[in-house]
Symmetry: C3
Subunit: 485 residues, 3 copies
Amino acid sequence: MGNCCDRAASFFGPQKNTNVRVGLPAVCFVWQIAMVVLFGVFIRYDEESDTHWVEFRRENNITSDIENDFYFRYPSFQDVHVMIFVGFGFLMTFLKRYSYGGVGFNFLIAAFGLQWALLMQGWFHSLNPETGKITIGVESLINADFCCAGSLIAFGALLGKVSPVQTLVVALFGVTLFAVEEYIILDLLHCRDAGGSMVIHCFGGYYGLAISWVLYRPNLHLSKRFHGAVYHSDLFAMIGTLYLWMYWPSFNSAITDHGDGQHRTAINTYLALASSVLTTVAISSMSKKGGKLDMVHIQNATLAGGVAMGTAAEFMIQPYGALIVGFCVGIISTFGYLFVTPFLEKYLKLQDTCGVHNLHAVPGMLGGFIGAITAAAATEAVYGAEGLRNTFDFEGEFENRTPGTQGGFQAAGTCVSIWKTTALLRFILRFPIWADPGDDNCFDDEVYWELPEDEEIVPPVLEYNNHMIHKHQEISESNFSVDQS
Amino acid sequence: MGNCCDRAASFFGPQKNTNVRVGLPAVCFVWQIAMVVLFGVFIRYDEESDTHWVEFRRENNITSDIENDFYFRYPSFQDVHVMIFVGFGFLMTFLKRYSYGGVGFNFLIAAFGLQWALLMQGWFHSLNPETGKITIGVESLINADFCCAGSLIAFGALLGKVSPVQTLVVALFGVTLFAVEEYIILDLLHCRDAGGSMVIHCFGGYYGLAISWVLYRPNLHLSKRFHGAVYHSDLFAMIGTLYLWMYWPSFNSAITDHGDGQHRTAINTYLALASSVLTTVAISSMSKKGGKLDMVHIQNATLAGGVAMGTAAEFMIQPYGALIVGFCVGIISTFGYLFVTPFLEKYLKLQDTCGVHNLHAVPGMLGGFIGAITAAAATEAVYGAEGLRNTFDFEGEFENRTPGTQGGFQAAGTCVSIWKTTALLRFILRFPIWADPGDDNCFDDEVYWELPEDEEIVPPVLEYNNHMIHKHQEISESNFSVDQS
Amino acid sequence: MGNCCDRAASFFGPQKNTNVRVGLPAVCFVWQIAMVVLFGVFIRYDEESDTHWVEFRRENNITSDIENDFYFRYPSFQDVHVMIFVGFGFLMTFLKRYSYGGVGFNFLIAAFGLQWALLMQGWFHSLNPETGKITIGVESLINADFCCAGSLIAFGALLGKVSPVQTLVVALFGVTLFAVEEYIILDLLHCRDAGGSMVIHCFGGYYGLAISWVLYRPNLHLSKRFHGAVYHSDLFAMIGTLYLWMYWPSFNSAITDHGDGQHRTAINTYLALASSVLTTVAISSMSKKGGKLDMVHIQNATLAGGVAMGTAAEFMIQPYGALIVGFCVGIISTFGYLFVTPFLEKYLKLQDTCGVHNLHAVPGMLGGFIGAITAAAATEAVYGAEGLRNTFDFEGEFENRTPGTQGGFQAAGTCVSIWKTTALLRFILRFPIWADPGDDNCFDDEVYWELPEDEEIVPPVLEYNNHMIHKHQEISESNFSVDQS
């Protein structure tokens, strides 16, 4: 490894210090200890996961243990959990030399993020004023995973350009902003957003783009040799894609209403995803010589249908409505990869490694507005009086809200979700201690990971080999001259 | 890429035109738009996924939301969904240079197929004559996935030899034939086939073989260099194998009766699969010098137990019965890979890339007959009067059917499932516009996919080695000259 | 392949006979036939998976099919099933040249082990004295998978050093010892161990270490060239790690009490795992030059939290308690990989390929004692009278047991789980017929698997390349001489 760094140095001038041997352990330990303390002070089991459930059941005449929310939500929770760690994680392994970083840092961010999310979301949504405690159950775990998703999306825009310490900072702020924004959209504006088009995808996408803009690297071309896929890394990424695609119905339906709510949401998401596959393939094929398909499109744009149905999936959008949504966002997202990403980099100084702009930001925003329209169009004729009330949760202070007004608030919520505070990130993220990689070895696992002995050889790239032969010659020469002296 | 084509050309004379830049997008757009229109006309939510569920619940005295079919079926649905996209998809990545095609086209076929299946199966099974609508719920989604499976199995026989447009045509006809055949077997003959030994595997296998016979390529040996696995591609295929193997109990039990039906089916499938692993390993080891295991057998024949239990798994076949079934089909399927596939190619002009004949066609047929025997052997003593009626659904017009008769009909159903209409496929599939690959670059992703820059090098093909030797020699020479000076 | 062996021979003297062409098929056939017979004699469906369920339901006033244990346990069962076959299987693909063996033999062991486990556990726990039958349901399948886990853990210590026949013997004895030990700990001592810290992990770990000690190879360094990872093999291993990590909450909660029991267990495990990720990353980073992360630690130590919560997860350990457990074992496990494994090999003649000592043996033992302490600390104030009784199952003969006593018995159980009988293994496992690999080709798939043509090339190792250049030069020379003549 050492030599390797030196080599790089000799090529591109003095190396940046990427040593995280102090920073990373320090952050992990301190933050994890903080989590222990805060959990000790605030977090307890809710009545469905506490041993007092037996009494609670009797008091509330709950006929059976199967009525425990665990059995309504746990299967979807596990699917969501897989999406967060395998879905997002492996989707980010597509880079030829940053696969460890993609899946490994994703793992780290999410493991911290979900703890912090339980606290932040608890404080905002379920802090019991009397006891001063937050009580958690399976639904809290799902929400915590959702909350991480926001930061993981942001990480997608920064992939390969930041240090693990910086990713943790991104997660810390991401989760915090997420909870605030979620409170405004869901509680204050009383929007419905079960699948998080606005709250998760739109927010996460723009949050990531903002940071990427803050961290713009004019000389990123120096890492060009690492910036691409190899045959097998693209296959690993397909694992991520497929798990996201298959489990998205669970993602959108995980926290919707019991019964028809979860049922309908799953159906709508399933259909929207299917139709966005076909339009993605169509555009991808049209865009290349000989009609060849581009793995980048297949890996990403096929998922746009799920993102765009995040808000509307629980409404009566009807199966054909879901297909239309998937049809359109599949096209839009693929066009994004073809034209918008290059444009953003060239003119707006936005380096978006995974193209989160096309997969999350835009489809999320559209999803928000689709939700607004569907809500505004809701009628008692279609939903039934009771159904309408349940679906939009027109209860308590919101009893008299009409679908029309609801639509307005949904639209407002979407706008809110584009808002974000990034100014304060500038200083922190630039702080040298964070040890981000130099412009010449971004997208390179060699910086933060012990690589196996073969790391010079796998995966083989052309210029890279030449440059290796080259290197070997240098070495032998140098050895030779050494012998001379 | 260009060079590569030229190279191939220079080797084997003028290339076939494999340009799908017009055909593929056209088919995707037109068919997807057709889906939107047909869904708009025909498809609505069923009463369990509609907002009127609350009223429906009250009217039918359903005590709890957990009684919604969603909670009986959704976990199995997600397992089946994984089998369709990751299971079948990754199982087909074993070819060294066709992994994108395997997983990618599988993704495309299934995404279209499930939409078309919802319509076809709806028209045949659940079209409401008054409203003229088809209502869908989670069970419909499972059936749609099953219906795709038939076409994906067929695709396995054609892997690497057809264009993406042709695969879509295969899916269009496959789903249509599937629905017709399913109607005959399940509705007219009133057979039980929850796991689809007959309806899915037997049908899919023979359908694929028929097309493969239509598309016989006498000069396929020209693609010999691409026709094989590399170390890592076989590992990717193991992902597919294991997901199919692990989730097969969900596949067979997904649509069986609530309660004991699903429970028993899962147990039987679990056991049959376990025993077919041991016999597969035994035969595979016996067949090779030094008793070495062959990945092709491990990847495929281990699954035969699940296929063969597709029909009988919901009956009282008893745990040891399940083990015996797995024991036998594991042997039969492995022998198929050893002797039948070569025989078919040599004498019957059947080029069966994935050996679907041994994994699906034959075990599926056997499964059908095993089901017939088990049904014929059913007695009230074993099943209980009520149990017998529920298991075989002896109700309405079939009230007086005896297990014996049922056995007869099951056997008849198996025969029906071998029937297929392929004549009409000939013309369509041969039509030049479909742009299938030339005999000299079958099994080659380069034809339909943009490959990463390293595609010449990973995975290593013969010319590649030469080029490497070459390189190494340069190195040694250069070193040598260095020593000289 | 042949040449390859000869080559090896020429390098390291006469080869060991590794031919399993007789032994492996013989064992598979004989044992599988034995399973069929024993299942025929002993195993039947339980009342929830039998067609008599309809009557059983009526007699017991069970209101709905959803009350069938299938719906309480099946989703968790499938998650556990994935952990056994994909989790353990792919975790063992990290070796550059033993990935087939890792995933393939894991598949074989588990497929046999689960059948044998159903019998052994049945005889000890659920044999009906009147009928002389064992009745099985979904919970039995989960327990069978658990039972295999013990042997798979042991296999991890032996990975690459034993023949497939030996692995089957390891499984046969492992499952047997497991059942005996489980009977002592759970039935006689009446311990609670839902997630199997003691019964599965502690037992499996020490069982594997004992065998590894029996099979100590002084000349293992001869296989050094195969003993390591390559870039892609480490990524495959991450698939295993993540599936184990994500589904561990299902593993621990699969057989806990319905309702709050499963709910609480999942939450605790989820939290413990999250915090062990952060401490693992911290220690891993501290231990390397430049703070680089080591894949071995990320792949293994991150899971320690789940192991250590196996016993205590169903108790009221509180969320912060779970975090503390994960925090500590993450550190301990990573230190184990850094210092203990080398120490064991150097001084105690223990060659532990996967480091099961650090991931299973020690965290499992700690988990047992953590469970003992948590149990001893239980009070009615926290659990509620009823909750306390249900959680610790203080019923029947154990009605008067106090938490304090229970704690004592839990501790005793942990000690029992470290006990194992290995003497009798010595002779059997050394028996030549088992055809274990020679010291010079351990960790080499070439011994037991047909490898694709490229097996010389993928994965590339350094000395290995030289040897290739060498070989290629020979080839060219030979060609040359041919030209001469």
